[in-house]
């Protein structure tokens, strides 16, 4: 008998009688308004919010705030004028010196300020992790309340890799002192795009 057969046989004989799955949970209505909550939580976890109404404002902001940075890359064609051309499809190790990566998220979650980003929006999986600083563009209309809404939105979407990213990389492993920028980005800027 292989280990596989052995394990499966033992599981089958030892597992208890059937127990039903509980009812699905949904977002409990009430509490804070989603966009306000998203902004508050993101700030609490070390991220920065920039509210914009169009991509020109984002491009201007990047030019001003990151003007001393050498290597800026983006997956967004709207930001081609302020970022490096032809960076795509290289060996993932070659992005080690990227100062700022600007990518898009499918949506954000108000309760924890996490942004859902799949591989197709990253170009290369390593991009949002290896860059020194990360910026993410998300539509104001795409902020959902809780993780239950998030997975309803993801539903049975196909992806090879996807991640909820909430704020900059961090650690508190040394005496519980919070330090931003463990291995991944040292900062995270979220461009909240939309009217009002």
């Amino acid at each position: 008998m292989t280990s596989r057969e052995e394990i499966l046989a033992k599981v089958k004989s030892n597992q208890p009688g059937p127990r039903p799955l509980p009812a699905d949970l949904a977002t409990v209505p009430g509490g804070m308004e989603s966009i306000a909550q998203f902004k508050t939580v993101l700030t609490t976890i070390g991220g920065a919010i920039v509210e914009v109404t169009n991509f020109d404002e984002i491009a201007n902001y990047i030019q001003q705030e990151f003007k001393d940075k050498k290597r800026l890359i983006s997956t967004l064609p709207e930001l081609a004028s302020v970022t490096e051309p032809g960076w795509e499809n290289k060996d993932p190790h070659s992005y080690e010196d990227v100062d700022l990566a600007i990518i898009k998220a499918h949506f954000g979650v108000a309760e924890n300020a996490a942004l859902w980003i799949t591989e197709d929006l990253m170009q290369q999986r390593v991009v949002p992790f290896i860059c020194q600083q990360l910026a993410v563009v998300v539509n104001k209309a795409d902020i959902v309340a809780t993780m239950h809404d998030a997975y309803s939105k993801i539903s049975d979407a196909e992806y090879g890799f996807g991640s909820f990213i909430a704020g900059p990389s961090k650690t508190a492993d040394i005496e519980q002192s919070l330090v931003l920028g463990a291995h991944g980005p040292k900062s995270m800027t979220v461009f909240l795009l939309g009217q009002g």
């Binding site: 939580v41 463990a182 291995h183």
Partner: protein, 459 residues
């Protein structure tokens, strides 16, 4: 962790030699527990979430056979190679053979309590493979040649000055530098070089979804992602109990995991690995190592619901004041004390006794494991199977004899009161373990029996 023959009480004595450090350890973990409370109380539906998570896990355990098959089929369809390991040794051999086939002898590894449980690092080291732990806390204890003392905060027992010394010795930071921001930056540079140059990465698994064949890895540092997305080979190691039926169930577990662990609303990264990236090979090792046995123990199977948040450790008055290393097992604290005896009842017979049975662990457990009840039940099993500490077993027998014999009970009571009154030095000394941290009580003038007799007569 090999500790010779020392048990939890003896190892705690070593930890307790430095009282100031014990106080600091206690307060630091209580601070984490307080953050957990704040996060939990911030959600009015918290108890519903706990109950739902618990019920999903009940369903998983009752249907694990089919879910494992479904997960395997879907993962393979996604291009992931699935391996099965009956025990820690087989797990280590599988990992080693994958690395050998890939021609890799230097790897990075993100946090995985399973690989700690299986002693993978030791095994690979013996086979000339260098493992760099990339979680900052784990890297620190690795440099110190110690095991983690906490499953979420591996070096919570270390002071920043000690970490500064380690970094000075191993990473070349200036002597005396102990600022956490500075030390973290030094570790970032040190580990970046490892991420960039290593061709294989090992990660743990927080959740695996039967419906889709994907698995989720949660970190705050981003070290699992840095390792996996740069490596040609990604090996993910998981216990068979990590399965969830449906993708949407992740919503419940991602809501409770980090709130329970550190009080954050979610970890910085909750990464869903479904397919290898083009050109990469991805492996999953499914490990039993005693889990199927635990599944068959009706009183203890609920321990398999654990999602490794460590809330039970942070709240435990015994863990906080005895330190993780005194549990001499990969997973310390209350949950570790109900998992370890399943693996080796003799070696871990002391652990279920390392508890006041106050029940705080069960109260904070996000998947509602009845931890303190299981601790109590393990004590009975251990005594019945003959693994109890002989001193304790002898005392219990003497107690049993005295309590089941009224005349001996009366004599013993009288003798006890006489000794406390006339010869306190015979009990107020080091030989009496009870006296170690306590004063002996004032002896009453008479027993309740004597009092009752006297007062009844007067009526």
């Amino acid at each position: 962790m090999s500790t010779g023959a020392k048990d939890h009480a003896q190892l705690s004595d070593i930890f307790n030699e430095d009282e100031a450090r014990v106080d600091w350890h206690d307060e630091t973990l209580w601070f984490v527990r307080a953050k957990r409370d704040k996060a939990a109380h911030g959600l009015p539906e918290w108890e519903t979430l706990r109950e739902t998570a618990s019920q999903i896990k009940d369903n998983v355990l009752s249907n694990l056979h089919d879910y494992l098959l479904q997960f395997e089929a879907n993962a393979e369809k996604n291009g992931i190679k699935v391996h099965w390991a009956a025990n820690g040794d087989e797990h280590n051999k599988i990992v080693h053979s994958i690395l050998k086939e890939s021609g890799v002898n230097r790897i990075v590894k993100s946090k995985s309590m399973l690989t700690e449980e299986c002693h993978l690092n030791d095994y690979l080291h013996k086979n000339d493979i260098e493992v760099i732990d990339t979680d900052l806390g784990e890297r620190i204890v690795q440099l110190a040649e110690e095991p983690p003392s906490h499953i979420v905060l591996p070096c919570i027992h270390k002071k920043k000055e000690e970490i500064g010394e380690l970094f000075h010795k191993h990473l070349g930071t200036p002597e005396g530098a102990s600022d956490p921001v500075f030390l973290t930056a030094a570790a970032r540079d040190h580990l970046r070089e490892k991420f960039i140059t290593r061709k294989a990465a090992i990660t743990g698994v927080n959740f695996a979804v039967a419906e889709t064949g994907e698995f989720v890895v949660c970190t705050n540092e981003g070290n699992a992602d840095m390792g996996a997305h740069l490596a040609d080979v990604h090996i993910a190691c998981m216990g068979i109990e990590k399965i969830l039926p449906l993708r949407k169930h992740l919503s419940v577990f991602l809501r409770i995991l980090t709130r329970s662990a550190t009080g954050q609303p979610i970890t910085t990264y909750s990464s869903h690995f479904k397919k290898p990236r083009p050109g990469q090979t991805m492996h999953i090792v499914l490990v039993d190592n005693g889990r199927t046995t635990q599944l068959g123990r009706e009183d203890f199977r609920n321990s398999l619901k654990c999602i490794r948040c460590a809330a039970c450790m942070n709240t435990c008055p015994v863990y906080r004041r005895s330190g993780g290393h005194s549990y001499h097992t990969a997973i310390a604290g209350p949950i570790g004390s109900i998992l370890a005896p399943n693996l080796d009842m003799k070696n871990y017979a002391d652990l279920p006794f390392a508890s006041t049975l106050c029940g705080s662990c069960s109260n904070v457990c996000p998947v509602k494991i009845n931890i303190h009840e299981q601790l109590y039940k393990w004590r009975q099993v251990i005594v019945k199977e003959g693994y109890a500490d002989p001193k304790k077993a002898m005392a219990m027998k003497a107690m049993d004899f005295t309590l089941s014999n009224p005349s001996i009970y009366k004599i013993a009571g009288k003798a006890g009161r006489w000794v406390l009154k006339h010869a306190p030095f015979t009990v107020n000394n080091k030989l009496n373990l009870w006296y170690k941290h306590r004063e002996m009580p004032e002896p009453p003038k008479q027993s309740f029996g004597e009092w009752y007799k006297q007062n009844n007569k007067n009526d």
